[in-house]
Amino acid sequence: MINATLYELSRALSTHEVSSAELTQLFIDRIHRLNPTLNAFITLDPQRSLEQARVADARIARGDSQALTGIPIAHKDIFCTKGWLTTCGSRMLSNFVAPYDAHVVERFQAAGAVILGKTNMDEFAMGSSNETSYYGPVANPWDRAAVPGGSSGGSACAVAARLAPAATGTDTGGSIRLPASLCGVSGLKPTYGVVSRYGMVAYASSLDQGGPIAKSAADLALLLNAMAGFDARDSTSLERQPEDYGRSLNEPLAGLRLGLPKEYFAAGLGADVARAIETAVAQLRGMGCELVEVSLPNTRLAVPAYYVLAPAEASSNLARYDGARYGFRATDYGDLREMYMHTRAQGFGAEVKRRILIGTYVLSHGYYDAYYLQAQRIRRLIARDFAEAFRRCDLIVGPTSPSVAFELGAKSDDPVQMYLSDIYTIGVNLAGLPGMSIPCGFGDKGRPVGLQLIGNYFEEARMLNVAHQFQNATDWHRRMPAETG
């Protein structure tokens, strides 16, 4: 049951082979047993989850169910869940019980899914390894000495360790794709504007997107169908015709042109990762795809531009945390100014403070043009690179990460080393394109390797098609870490 697809679980529920209450209890038991050494979850509320499961069971009995009714889903702790602690992995929100549901959570509730718990994450989504959380790092279930990737490390770990059949994540510079890659699971970041950000705590508003993490592309399609769609409460939500993201899953791949960006296969890519990617690409060629070399010449500017834009937006978004209306408030202060300064100094961790300082600097008087505007121009150059590439191919493929999971603590001393992990994922956020990662093998120390697929705007169905066909022909996505059996 822990390895079942969402479709299989849905069928088992509707034929009464298992009840939602039993299914939910199964995952709760696994979490109690395995979470202490993984730290994938920050908040659990078994009573509440089981209550939701019973409601789902009643709905199934009435014949009123949908594909996700009764399915337990873990939510990254960045999504507001009404009545549940919503911490964003930060001391600043360690006492914040959300008074409302995020749009994404509302959609899952309407579908009858069960909230399994809130997953651990890098603080305010700032990080690539899930080591900056106030609640401690998450371990990689394939090797507990390694990081799971971040910032959605808890969600990716939970799915990989079979603690949850599906989870939500967010991706601003790679935070769904990178942990999916490092944990050997499938994750998708939609085109910017496809999933509403209402109730999804903001880090960098022009880059943030919520998306699903699961064991397969078919599962991702089901989840994306629930998550996507216009929401008037998010001013950047796009009004488009609703789509069935699973409609193209079974289309043959013959004739599809796959672009391989030469900059993604250059120095910096680990040899073990390169080998697994090459094998995956050969597999796709064998399935009828045509391989095309493309170029994204401004790739080297993506990380620097991102580390101007994202911190700038973060410095603005995190200005709201002042101890006045919600969240942590320092106890030692004299006047209002001190209340702000001490609350923020004590409430935020080191990485968050670092990015707030960078952002404040690049937006300050005299520096805005040279830094922020320049980064916005680079952003357009990067988007143009992708547009040009998509004239010559239908989809871009390559590595998600330059390496497999590294050791916990290995990159903590030098922020820049950590930032360079995002080299293949960041451009996708800058351009607002959809991106996915699926498992395609193993590298050094038996740690998973992820294949990244990048589509043109609104090409999620096509990306899911390629991923699904790849997963029909291979079994990397069915592997499970040994210690979690």
């Binding site: 008074p99 001013s235 408030r329 006047d335 707030i356």
Partner: protein, 95 residues
């Protein structure tokens, strides 16, 4: 553009983050590293390139100027550190 210790302290004040002398020195080292990374993009030639803030060419939606949200201030203020008579309590600003 080399960062100085005074820059760090000035930015910390702007960001309303109190910072000790030792923390400021540590931040200077780390931020200098990040700014070396950022310098790479400063050198790029972006003549005649328009800044891009959004992937899609969208316009901010407007709505009628009517009351559409219910009053939930009690619920929203239930999570506040200090509230009285619907007001958030903070240290006095004006003497």
């Amino acid at each position: 553009m080399a960062l100085s210790l005074d820059d760090v302290k000035r930015i910390a004040v702007l960001a309303r983050l109190s910072i000790t002398e030792a923390e400021a020195r540590q931040a200077l080292v780390e931020l200098s590293g990040v700014f070396s990374l950022i310098e790479q993009m400063r050198a790029a030639d972006t003549t005649d390139v328009e800044p891009m803030s959004h992937a899609q060419d969208v316009v901010l939606r407007l709505r009628p100027d009517i009351v559409s949200e219910p009053d939930q201030h009690e619920l929203f203020q239930s999570v506040a550190p200090q509230v009285e008579a619907g007001l958030y309590l903070v240290p006095k600003v004006i003497e």
